[in-house]
Symmetry: C2
Subunit: 387 residues, 2 copies
């Protein structure tokens, strides 16, 4: 049954080849000082940085540089970004990059005027901002996290070995986002497939919970099938605009609050993956891939009906044999597709060794919305099976 | 291929049993004078009017009455609404009703400060507002049109026998909408199924165009399957909350601009149906139902690939035989479902007689986004086959 909910997603999107031209019209809505946020420099190599800077200059904006955001943005980097924004009195945080850069921009936006410790307030205590929030905008260069149209923000505390996500409300969501599929062309294939699996898993996290036959289940199946079809085309030819544009658009809708409306959600794969990420600094999508199958095989008996439906509706598995046999054939199909994409299928590939398991289990948060609330023993078992 | 597009849908939604309580918090964002817009009085019978008025009074608002909006709102009624809004200097247009009431509220909102003739400017010339627009909000009591989360507005000019829709931009979309599935319980079964078919056909209009395998195709198939499944439950028990809530939510997404992003759309069924409506004043969803199958059978050869996909993915038709045979079996399945719902399958049931065909053809606008741009002869042929 659809539970009660609110839906409000005011992010304005400009999608398509050359969509960056719309940055000009949007900038007229904001003041002079723009904090230009980006990652390790790939945007400088592929020319996107220059395109953005040239538009900012044409519009008479003053650029406040904030580069070097790492794939798993840390609390230290966050403190640096807050300082830059505060000292310069910036008017807009413009994130040019993938999900990490956008996640970080949101964390800065909600923290500049916040007198409390943002790590504690937003990530540990999961509170909402009680201070003024700076506007954020995004030019997306990597697909997967959905950060471009949601309030999500994941930050890593290296000292505490914790990587935690927070979902901010619509006031922290990007005011506008530029989605140009060609801006993702230079992403290495390994990052491309990690992003594809991240998006796919966002749908799984929202799908594998509850027993209802609600609208979200049908939309999720459609989005999953779309991603599977386009991923094969993008793998064969990463410059296939049709495939890359469909993946970009599906990834946005995979995690922009629509699918979760009115239903339970799980997120335990993300909790396991984020714990692996906190201990290895591995690529987010790869950590999710490496723990997914052991987790799904473990919880399958508790959500048999949904896993059976997943097999039939997403993978076209024939409805012969027992429910469990059908459901397992669905997971086999998932596994084959993941191998086809070249995803990490074991956490050992990401640098995890046997002796790290207990500590990763310590860092794994337990979610309560899925088919089975994991015990400590189950977490350890799943991590061992993921090795 | 996904074409370039913008997406911006800022309507805030409150969904669920008892969601009307959120009207109170939203009202604090607007001034004192509220134009209360409703239809023929059913909201007075079922108690929704009293609930709304009581909240408005508690919030110290001054109510400006504007009832009597007809199922096909006319240019005359629009003039009346504009006069009421202008003379009273209202701060918010609160539409309590179905799509017609909401469509009308948007037309009033965009016309109060407009010095030109709104019928000519918005409906004949399809221009966007160049004047100040009043805020609109909606309490939905009938499902189908999607008007609660889009800029669509259909107005009828009885003198010219024209019923034309206009799609306003995000500034005219409802600021907020209350979606309580129980508010639709007292809608007569005939109106309920007409609304279900209206929503379903909105998806068809966006689905039957283009040859691509894009995200919208997959989302459309998911929404159609969800509506088919829930419609059968709602038909068996109109008080089935799960079914009614899923139908309400799917209908909102069937026409809130998502499905049409980056692709062509058709809308010829609506053009035929609206012409029938302009000459008969029949229920909108029923006019669509009565012309759909003759239209789809006529254009099937031009969009064979998509009609085949529709058969397989939406109706589970087995993939044996020629593409045309498979595609036709899909339309048979659609026809059977429509009969199961008790929809009007012939325009003669709606009061159309043989001698009216030519005049209805005169009122039928021709769309260019579908698989076949209709000639006058084809329009007449389809209308005759719909008799």
């Amino acid at each position: 049954m659809l539970g009660d909910f609110r839906y409000h997603n005011p992010t304005k999107l400009y999608f398509g080849r050359g969509a960056i031209v719309h940055l000009r019209e949007e900038l007229s809505n904001y003041g002079k000082k723009i904090q230009l946020i980006y990652g390790g420099g790939s945007v400088k190599k592929n020319g996107i940085y220059d395109q953005v800077v040239s538009i900012l200059r044409e519009c008479g904006k003053e650029i406040v540089e904030d580069g070097g955001v790492m794939p798993n943005p840390t609390t230290e980097k966050l403190a640096e970004g807050i300082k830059i924004a505060g000292e310069n009195g910036v008017d807009l945080l413009l994130a040019v990059g993938g999900g990490s850069v956008c996640d970080y921009a949101k964390a800065v936006a909600a923290s500049v005027s916040c007198t409390e410790d943002p790590w504690k307030k937003y990530y540990i205590d999961q509170e909402q901002p009680t201070c003024e929030v700076l506007p954020v905008a995004c030019v997306l260069t990597m697909v997967g996290t959905g950060s471009e149209m949601n309030g999500g923000s994941v930050i890593t505390n290296p000292a505490e070995k914790l990587k935690i996500g927070h979902v901010f409300g619509s006031d922290v969501m990007p005011k506008f986002t530029i989605l140009d599929p060609t801006f993702t062309y230079t992403v290495p294939k390994r990052q491309m497939v990690a992003g594809i699996y991240d998006a796919f898993n966002h749908i799984c996290e929202q799908y594998f919970s509850g027993e209802d036959d609600n609208v979200s289940d049908y939309l999720s199946e459609g989005l999953m099938r779309s991603i599977i079809a386009s991923s094969r085309k993008a793998l064969a030819d990463p410059l296939d605009y049709e495939a890359r544009s469909n993946i970009m658009w599906a990834a946005t809708w995979a995690l922009n609050t629509l699918l979760s409306r009115g239903k339970d959600t799980d997120w335990e794969v993300h909790m396991l993956g984020q714990a692996v990420g906190a201990h290895t600094d591995a690529t987010h999508g790869m950590t999710l891939a490496a723990v997914s199958l052991p987790y799904y095989r473990h919880i399958l008996p508790y959500g048999l009906k949904k896993f059976r439906r997943f097999a039939v509706e997403v993978w076209g598995v024939k409805e012969s044999g027992s429910d469990e046999e059908i459901a397992l054939r669905g997971l086999e199909a998932l596994e084959n597709w993941m191998k086809e994409l070249g995803l990490a299928m074991h956490i050992s590939e990401l640098g995890v060794t046997e002796d790290m398991i207990e500590k990763i289990a310590d860092s794994t948060l337990v979610e309560e919305g899925g088919y089975k609330v994991l015990t400590r023993e189950e977490i350890v078992k799943i991590l061992r099976e993921s090795l």
